[in-house]
């Protein structure tokens, strides 16, 4: 078969369809992963001891378990206890749980880095504890957490490929199907790899710009900017 025909008529259209699914997976997981991360970090740092323990245990369990096993539990395991999710939903749920746990660690690190005096000062101005967290601590902490959160976002792009293992035909899966059907393993996976490299490289540049855009003049960065 002609190389050009294979590339433009078969491989690229398949990969673009897969890419759409990959982007859907990321778009559906990332915002909830961030929200979960913030909630868990705040809960662990400022919550009632029981909530704090719950948040700590959640992070402990998720960080200890391979994401692939978590996906298997959600997709193959949950039906046996009466909860059936589609493969796409199970993937998103797995990514949110995983992304949220890692995000929580970065956000908690940033929360700790904000000096305690700020909470005391905010409370002495008459703010409630919740108001102080929301309007004084978090706006600073989240900015400091951006490099870590960006790295996690990049990990999310890469680990979205694991959805293929529970039958979601996203970018890697699309590449695998073409590779198996036309026996073009090196070419197909190289093409898949290039798409991921482009995605990841664009994201790296974008988050570095974002970090500069939201920076408050005069505040120092806690961690160096994201690299891949």
């Amino acid at each position: 078969m002609d190389q050009a025909v294979f590339l433009f008529d078969i491989l690229l259209p398949a990969l673009m369809q897969g890419l759409v699914i990959t982007l859907q997976l990321i778009a559906c997981s990332a915002p909830f992963g961030l929200a979960l991360g913030i909630a868990v970090a705040v809960g662990r740092q400022y919550g009632h001891p029981a909530i704090s323990w719950l948040c700590r245990t959640y992070v402990f369990l998720i960080k200890g378990t391979p994401l692939l096993l978590l996906l298997f539990i959600l997709y193959f395991g949950l039906p046996s206890v009466g909860i059936t999710l589609t493969a796409f939903m199970a993937s998103i749920l797995g990514f949110i749980l995983c992304n949220g746990a890692y995000n929580a660690e970065y956000i908690r690190g940033a929360l700790i880095s904000i000096k305690e005096g700020q909470m005391v000062a905010a409370r002495s101005l008459g703010m409630t504890r919740w108001q102080a967290i929301r309007s004084v601590i978090l706006p600073q902490a989240l900015r400091r957490a951006i490099p870590g959160l960006s790295n996690e976002f990049i990990y999310l792009i890469k680990y979205s490929s694991l959805a293929y293992m529970i039958t979601v035909i996203e970018l890697s899966g699309a590449g695998k199907l073409v590779a198996t059907k036309y026996f073009t393993y090196t070419e197909s996976f190289a093409a898949v790899g290039i798409v991921y490299l482009v995605l990841v490289s664009i994201t790296t540049i974008a988050v570095n710009i974002l970090e500069k855009r939201v920076a408050v003049p005069g505040t120092v960065r806690a961690t160096p900017s994201a690299q891949l």
Partner: protein, 225 residues
């Protein structure tokens, strides 16, 4: 049916899965140091072509998902260069190691660069060659600084090793799936596997943190974190 008899029945297989997973992780970690350290040195002290090659290597291996790397090497690159006879275990360990080297090189690079430049100048002015200075002045400090960051590679590689399931390496997750298929005990078996991974994860980390304390020099650096 109860989970406990099943676990006892299958315990030799589960243990072989654990051994296989640990084999993957330890090979990958070792390969990662073996390649990552020279890469870091090359990136700090090397000429620009060396720096460029290492830079591209790191960009490539950190930019691709582990699943795609495994597929690419297992189905594509290794058979194409005549290494198609390698077992899935070897390919899995090598790919995890090659990828680990990319991450580890950046940990080592940061550590080497955090040792003040003045030390190299001082060592050279005492008559040491560049190589001797790196070997006896820079690296003993840099490796200790790198250790906490390096310890975090262990859980990363451990959790990624499960993806080797995709190319048919018979590691813990593969064994788990087989037990699930055979016994139809889905959730309990998965949860036990998760428990084993968690124990391996935090047990290994505990060992590494102990190591950090053992090799720490009193009063040097920030110490174990």
């Amino acid at each position: 049916m109860d989970i406990l008899p099943i676990l006892i029945d299958w315990s030799p297989y589960i243990l072989s899965g654990v051994a296989s997973t640990l084999g993957l992780v330890l090979t990958a970690l070792g390969l990662g140091i073996l390649l990552g350290l020279p890469m870091a040195l090359g990136q700090v002290y090397g000429a620009w072509p060396v720096r460029a090659v290492v830079g591209v290597y790191v960009w490539f291996f950190r930019g691709l998902p582990i699943l795609v790397l495994l597929f690419l090497f297992w189905f594509g690159i290794f058979p194409a260069i005549g290494l198609g006879h390698l077992s899935a275990f070897v390919v899995g360990a090598v790919v995890l190691g090659l990828r680990g080297a990319a991450y580890q090189s950046q940990i080592f690079r940061g550590a080497i660069q955090s040792v003040g430049e003045g030390q190299m100048i001082a060592a050279r002015s005492l008559g040491m060659s560049k190589f001797t200075a790196i070997q006896s002045v820079i690296l003993p400090q840099a490796m200790r600084i790198a250790l906490p960051g390096w310890s975090n590679e262990y859980p990363n590689i451990l959790t990624d090793s499960a993806v080797c399931y995709a190319i048919g390496v018979v590691e813990l997750l593969t064994i788990t799936s087989r037990i699930v298929t055979q016994t139809h005990m889905t959730m309990p078996v998965y949860l036990v596997a998760a428990g084993i991974f968690i124990i391996l994860n935090y047990g290994g980390l505990k060992f590494l943190h102990g190591l950090e304390k053992r090799v720490a020099i009193p009063g040097f650096g920030t110490g174990a974190t």
